[in-house]
């Protein structure tokens, strides 16, 4: 491997590492219960719960590690953790 001067690397380049493969439980979104509070997207350590323009969220299963914080903290139980099937 060639090391760049100062060990410089491209910004955001961890995206090549698809951490979704780590997941054991998958967040399942119940859109009808969602009140668009945004807590899930604010807390997600993997930037994998993304708030849309209309306030609802989408999950990025390429990177979501299934930690379950979004489901645990959701005030309306709009997110449910289900066993991942691969």
């Amino acid at each position: 491997m060639k090391i760049a001067i100062g060990g410089m690397v491209e910004p955001g380049s961890t995206r090549v590492n698809k951490t979704g493969s780590w997941r054991i439980y998958r967040p399942l979104y119940h859109r009808d219960k969602c009140i668009k509070c945004g807590i899930c997207s604010m807390l997600c350590p993997d930037s994998s719960v993304k708030a849309q323009e209309d306030g609802y969220v989408i999950f990025d299963y390429e990177y979501c590690k299934g930690c379950g914080i979004c489901a645990y903290e959701c005030p309306k139980d709009a997110i449910e953790m289900v066993l991942e099937e691969k």
Partner: protein
């Protein structure tokens, strides 16, 4: 709004990633981030990748504050400081043990930097060895519980008090479980000219042994039991305190974590719990939390 890029190697439910995200959201894009050795450093920058989308530098374990001070001085000397904020994001080991000397020097000289300590109360990156941030009674790999031992024998070092003693314009505690509180304090700190210190409590599911989904809940329990008081200090005077309504007993916080399990299963554990309750009671009195 920038955050860490996904694909970083933080554990599921990582408190460091959450802390970094809150800092990035609050501080804006015109920032330079310095991280010493630690979980945040290794998990965001496995060469040749980086999860950062703002300028970020790592040098050594002990010199995050010195590097931040150097960047600030260099930008000023070149006439290029402008509105750029220099932020150090460091763990408790780098802050409270290994980098204290450089941190003290930077604050003494009065550089315009914001130093954020993400305190998960042990060296998690290398396998949960105790640090100056490890609380009394916690079992770690270098303060294990056993036949005679009830875990860590020393009290958590009061690092905010040490930083406040420098007469810094702003020293504050916060918690990743209160994102709005943390973001407000980060914003306030970066807007203040001079050295500011933010000490963020950060529950680590791997090191503290609880389910990854409960990271936020555990941090709230630390605040609600008064084991982690939230306060602000300006020029050595306490100027803001988050009051606690209906304070919970420390057992509520301790029993939720594997690192304190021995306090509930070993004979004599209740005496140790009483000592930890004394720490919470002292916090309530000292910081006038009720």
């Amino acid at each position: 709004m920038s955050r860490l890029a996904p694909g970083h190697r933080g554990c599921p439910g990582c408190c460091d990633a959450m802390a970094a995200n809150f800092v990035l959201e609050a501080a804006g894009d015109d920032i330079i981030v310095v991280s010493p050795t630690g979980c945040l450093e290794v998990m965001t920058t496995p060469y040749p990748e980086s999860a950062w989308e703002v300028p970020w530098i790592h040098s050594l374990f002990e010199n995050a504050a010195s590097v931040a001070a150097g960047i600030e001085s260099a930008l000023k000397a070149l006439g290029r400081k402008g509105n750029t904020k220099i932020i150090a994001l460091a763990g408790d080991g780098a802050t409270m043990d290994i980098g204290t000397l450089g941190l003290s020097g930077a604050f003494e000289r009065g550089h315009d930097i914001t130093y954020v300590c993400i305190d998960n109360e042990a060296y998690m990156n290398t396998g949960v060895q105790r640090s100056g941030g490890t609380p009394y009674g916690a079992s770690t790999t270098t303060s294990p519980t056993g036949k005679e031992s009830f875990g860590n024998r020393t009290q958590k070092k009061n690092m905010p008090a040490i930083m406040a003693a420098h007469g810094a314009p702003y020293v504050t505690t916060t918690s990743i479980s209160y994102p709005k509180d943390m973001m407000r304090k980060v914003k306030k700190a970066v807007d203040i000219e001079g050295p500011c210190y933010i000490h963020a409590h950060a529950p680590c599911s791997t090191g503290w042994r609880f389910e990854s989904s409960r990271t936020v809940e555990i941090g709230k329990l630390a605040v609600e039991t008064a084991l982690w008081p939230l306060y602000e200090i300006e020029y050595s005077e306490i100027t803001g305190v988050k009051k606690i309504k209906n304070r919970k007993p420390v057992e509520d916080y301790l029993k939720a974590q594997g690192r304190f399990k021995h306090l509930f299963t070993k004979e004599g554990g209740e005496k140790e719990i009483a000592k930890i309750q004394d720490i919470a009671d002292w916090n309530v009195k000292h910081y006038e939390l009720e």
